[in-house]
Amino acid sequence: MNFDINTIVYILEIIVGGLLVGIGVHFVPVGGAPAAMAQAAGIGTGTVQLAAGSGLTGLLAAGLMMSVTDNLWLILASGAVGAGIMMGSTMLTGSWIYAYAVGAPFASAKVNYDPITGFSQPPYVAPGTVGQGIPTVCFTSGLIGGMMGGLGGAMIYYPLYLINGNAALSAMFAIGIFLVNAVIASWNIQGTIEGFHDPKFKKWPFAFKACLIASVLLALASVLITGGA
């Protein structure tokens, strides 16, 4: 392969994609195992799992769009919207369970008032728990995170496909780079976060640096390896 200015642009795109995934994970309101027992606010699953589920759904949408056009903006938007739809329907159906099966009002224990709707939170936090359900602020934050993940996945996939022209190879590399960045971000937030209003969100610069290093290494490797295939 020729290592020219285009290759550098491709590497930069992959790095930006990886960073978007890493920061996007911080927005996704995941409560881990406690949230599955309605013991903490957020979605009751693991950070990486949910980010991967939504971001890779976005990758499917971006891949479909890329097979018919080479307009970068359409591909990125398609990836973001695909991921947003997955994240939205997951949180919506999760809300049904919290509201109609567990029978609990939604509340976050990290803030006194919901920054978006202004609803008071502490009176609705069940005793012995740290909130439950998905309040509007968590829902919005989750959508932002999911869409950033989809955008990042599409941004990793786009240059790889331009280099090797092989959708399957590019998709596998995109999944790999996506998961590495999601796991690094997940360590940074120690597995649970409620969204951008959570105090843990302020730790994002650590993840930014770590994801930057990982993405640089992965971008170099993926550009070289897929270029040789």
């Binding site: 027992m37 009751g44 693991g46 997955m86 609990a104 009002p105 439950q132």
Partner: protein, 301 residues
């Protein structure tokens, strides 16, 4: 858009709904996901139980494995042996179910025998009649997802560029993520602590105190599946069905070659509707249930 491709999209939505429901019930019978932390803890705090315990990994990677296995076997049979697609998909799902059975059983033996010091037994009758139910549900999930991948690659007017196995892997990850986020709350938040006060999450003090007695006799995982099929499973199905249907509907109704911006705008419209609907659920739950009487702070409800 023509009637045939619209029918395919509808079929994909229906298959996804079934896949989501069966995925959630499979994880409830096997007690796989986050609520299993309580099942695992129960024996350690002095409550040995007869619940199946197979949390080998998170649900998304596990389901990605079953779905990708089914798709790879089906793809091989279709391309190398010219088998008919339906039979190949059935064979692929059967292989995936066998994988699932092996991993479930080894997880049950390993987890329960490692808790011998807490007086937790390995129940062979549980293995005998619960494992086939888990495998059956894994079969349904992997068959539906492999079929969705087949439709996306070979039948839709705009075929997807990814190979069948990669699409199945991604949908498997997605269905696992949705099952873990949606249906498992019904199992963990409600069914495992059914004898506690309704209308709130699990109080931290009660961790590990899961319900061990059933309507008749001792509770086992089949009883949990009976309960979770009433709401958790169908809700998971709706979540995954909506994801697959809405995501593909917008790129089928609007041709991605000429009307791509409309497809993206339609997706954004769906997302905004979801935000509004969630806000409605939040408001109605606050209005109907009210604040907790134990609250002693000075912030007004």
């Amino acid at each position: 858009m023509d009637a045939f491709s619209m029918g395919l999209i509808a079929a994909m939505g229906a298959l996804a709904t079934v896949a989501g429901a069966s995925e959630d019930i499979e994880s409830d019978i096997g007690s796989q996901s986050n609520p299993n932390s309580q099942v695992q803890l129960a024996a350690q705090v002095g409550n040995p139980h007869r619940i199946y315990n197979k949390a080998i990994s998170g649900e998304p990677p596990a389901n990605a494995l079953w779905a990708a296995t089914a798709a790879i076997v089906a793809y091989t049979l279709i391309t190398a042996f010219q088998m008919s697609a339906l039979l190949a998909l059935v064979a692929g799902a059967s292989v995936a179910a066998l994988f699932n059975g092996v991993l479930s059983m080894s997880a049950y033996f390993g987890r329960n025998s490692s808790q011998k010091r807490f007086n937790q037994w390995v129940y062979l009758d549980i293995i005998r009649y619960t494992t086939p139910s888990i495998m059956a549900h894994a079969w349904i999930t992997s068959f539906c997802i492999a079929t969705i991948s087949y439709i996306m690659v070979y039948m839709l007017p705009t075929p997807h560029p990814f190979p069948m196995a990669v699409i199945a892997l991604i949908w498997g990850l997605a269905v696992g993520a949705i099952g873990s986020s949606v249906g498992d709350i019904h199992y963990g938040g409600e069914r495992e602590f059914q004898n506690r006060q309704f209308g709130c999450g699990l109080n931290t003090m009660l961790s590990g105190q899961i319900v061990r007695k059933a309507e008749a006799g001792l509770r086992n995982s089949i009883d949990n599946a009976w309960f979770c099929t009433k709401f958790g499973g169908p809700a998971t199905g709706m979540g995954f069905g909506l994801t697959v249907f809405l995501d593909n509907w917008r790129t089928t109704v609007f041709d991605p070659v000429t009307q791509a911006p409309y497809a993206i705008a339609m997706g954004l419209f769906f997302i905004i509707v979801m935000v509004v609907y969630n806000n409605y659920i939040e408001k109605s739950a606050r209005r109907k249930y009210g604040p907790y009487p134990e609250y002693k702070g000075d912030i007004a409800a």
